[in-house]
């Protein structure tokens, strides 16, 4: 038996494999397929201050080795989350993390404060990187000043593990990562989707109702890997790698680049069992390379 345990600040994860927000619903959507006892954690879909209808249909466009989405944070708001959703997810046999979004600093604060009171949610992931809302969202994640202001405000009132999810739609990811870490984030996750676009040439129309949307899937993996590596080199807090992961080799690559854990998003749509296969594959890799603990591989990239 190899040791797959990972420590992310105060969180003790069974293994480094988690599911990415917005791609795994609230978890119950996968109940027929995934045994949550086998996952390191799940990040449920974004919660905002109040109910949001999200963007109009069409919200999805398939692209080469990936997809664009323009969901736009559809959710029923924090009060509904606390009253109706939390009771259904609080006893999952895995680490349940909430993803927190908003358009203003006050909205992030309001959601984070209520999340702080939920005993079985040991961490939040602050989504300052969603490309699909007109105001706020990604705007917070694209300048150091705004990323800092929202992190600082939430840090003041959120007492548990605070993960900040970074946007890749920036020129210098390491700079943003550093400034968020300086404000007291416990952990960083990256990347969110990359801003992209799809066109239906026959109709001479954009495919998405919002024209632009967020690109995910294997198409963004090399970018995500590069960003995780750049961020890991400059910050002292743990990094969670996200972007195009669909097998154990991808996951190991992220860990070698410096990720302490990884999240699987779009790949769940293609193979609902993929997360469990990744866990098995990581264990098999450790066996093959005779590594006792997966933690030994974090940032263990051999750069000449």
């Amino acid at each position: 038996m190899r040791n797959l345990n990972i420590k992310l600040h105060d969180l003790d994860l069974r293994n480094p494999v988690m599911t990415a927000s917005g791609t795994f619903g609230y978890g119950w959507e996968y109940e027929d397929f995934v045994d949550m006892n086998r996952l390191g954690g799940i990040i449920v879909k974004a919660t905002t201050g109040s109910h949001r209808e999200g963007n109009p249909y069409p919200r999805m466009a398939e692209t080469a080795m990936g997809m664009l989405n323009a969901v736009g944070l559809q959710n029923k708001g924090i009060d509904y989350f606390v009253n109706e959703i939390y009771p259904k997810i609080k006893d999952y046999p895995t680490c349940v993390i909430a993803n927190v979004s908003g358009s203003t600093v006050e909205e992030y604060e309001a959601v984070a404060e209520k999340m702080n009171g939920l005993e079985n949610i040991p961490a939040i992931e602050l989504n300052i990187s969603c490309p699909n809302v007109k105001e706020g969202g990604m705007a917070f994640g694209t300048t150091c000043a705004s990323a800092q202001s929202v992190t600082r405000a939430v840090r003041k009132l959120y007492k548990k593990t605070l993960i900040v999810k970074l946007s890749p739609n920036v020129t210098n990811i390491a700079e943003i990562a550093q400034s968020v870490a300086d404000e007291g984030a416990d952990c960083l996750s990256l990347i969110n989707t990359m801003l992209g676009m799809a066109i239906d040439a026959e109709k001479r129309k954009p495919v998405l109702s919002t024209v632009t949307g967020g690109l995910s899937g294997p198409a963004i993996k090399p970018i995500a890997l590069r960003m995780v590596w750049q961020v890991h080199k400059v910050v002292k807090i743990p990094v969670i790698g996200i972007g195009g992961i669909r097998n154990a080799t991808d996951a190991i690559e992220f860990i070698l680049a410096g990720a302490s854990a990884i999240q699987v998003g779009t790949a769940n749509f293609i193979d609902p069992f993929v997360t469990m296969k990744i866990v098995d594959g990581i264990e098999e890799y450790l066996d093959r390379h005779n590594v006792a603990s997966v933690a030994e591989l974090i940032g263990a990239l051999r750069v000449e």
């Binding site: 917005g22 791609t23 795994f24 619903g25 959507e29 996968y30 027929d32 397929f33 879909k45 209808e53 999200g54 109009p56 249909y57 069409p58 919200r59 999805m60 398939e62 692209t63 080469a64 080795m65 990936g66 997809m67 989405n69 969901v71 559809q74 899937g217 779009t266 769940n268 749509f269 293609i270 609902p272 069992f273």
Partner: protein, 266 residues
């Protein structure tokens, strides 16, 4: 309803015309319970261009043979790749997905299909037939050559054909069938599947007669199981997922569709 991921075996791939085919697939396990109108998410093997699964309605099910069939129109890369699968190949399916047609207690049922929209309707009339209900079925297409598998349908119900060029049955669109202009319209439920303009026209008819109309929608999907919220349709109670709360909807639930009688006559 529990969902499964299974490797089905292709028993046959039958070409119906230049752009339609039917796949018959053998389940490795006893078939799950399924409602007519439900669908499967099919993984397209080894295609470089097709990244996501593709949704297809369950066209029919044969419990004795333990098979289901899919009726598919070739419209792009994924459907083209499926059109050339060979007998014996495996296809990975997630099924059964979504909510199907809500079958009423009464027997005054009209089933209307246009073009590729006949896919889920065979399983529907088959199921109704098993319950002792022989429904009336209108099938429409551009011309006689596009009217496919009408014999299969005629096993389960009374057929009315429509073609746009008049080469078979009545001439015109399915929603222009003469039965709709007769005074004695006795149906209480219309089940429809086909292009959206056809469904909207059907809904108008249902509205005028003040009866129920259930339609099957084909929004583009990523996950098919309610996890991504990509497939939503605007309903009277906000955006709802077609993959879990549909694909079949009562048109009264759809925003901007069914207009209550009072509104129609205003």
């Amino acid at each position: 309803m529990k969902k499964f991921v299974h490797d089905f075996i292709v028993i046959s791939n039958k070409r119906l015309n230049s752009n339609h085919f039917v796949l018959e697939l053998l389940s490795p396990e006893p078939l799950s319970t399924m409602e007519p109108g439900q669908f499967a998410e099919v993984l397209i093997n080894g295609s470089q261009d097709v990244f996501l699964r593709r949704p297809f309605s369950i066209h029919n099910a044969d419990r004795q043979k333990n098979t289901i069939s899919l009726f598919i129109k070739i419209v792009g890369k994924g459907t083209h790749a499926l059109s050339i699968v060979q007998k014996g190949e495996k296809l990975n399916l997630i099924y059964p997905l979504g909510k199907g047609f809500r079958l009423p207690a009464h027997e005054k049922i009209l089933v209307v299909g246009g073009g590729c929209g006949i896919a889920p309707l065979l399983f529907l009339v088959h199921t109704l037939h098993d319950r002792g209900v022989k429904s009336d079925i209108i099938l429409g297409a551009r011309s006689a050559g596009d009217l496919l598998i009408t014999q299969q349908f005629s096993r389960y119900g009374n057929m009315f054909l429509m073609t746009e060029d008049g080469s078979a049955g009545e001439k015109g669109l399915v929603t222009q069938h003469s039965m709709f202009s007769k005074g004695s319209f006795a149906y209480q439920t219309i089940f429809g599947c086909g292009p959206t303009p056809m469904l909207k026209a059907l809904d108008k008819i249902a509205t005028a007669f003040g009866i129920e109309c259930q339609v099957s929608l084909e929004n583009t999907m990523a996950c098919g199981i309610g996890a991504c919220l990509c497939c939503v349709v605007k309903t009277t109670t906000g955006n709802r997922c077609v993959c879990t709360e549909g694909p079949v909807f009562d048109t009264r639930e759809l925003d901007g569709w069914y207009q209550p009688i009072a509104k129609c006559y205003r």
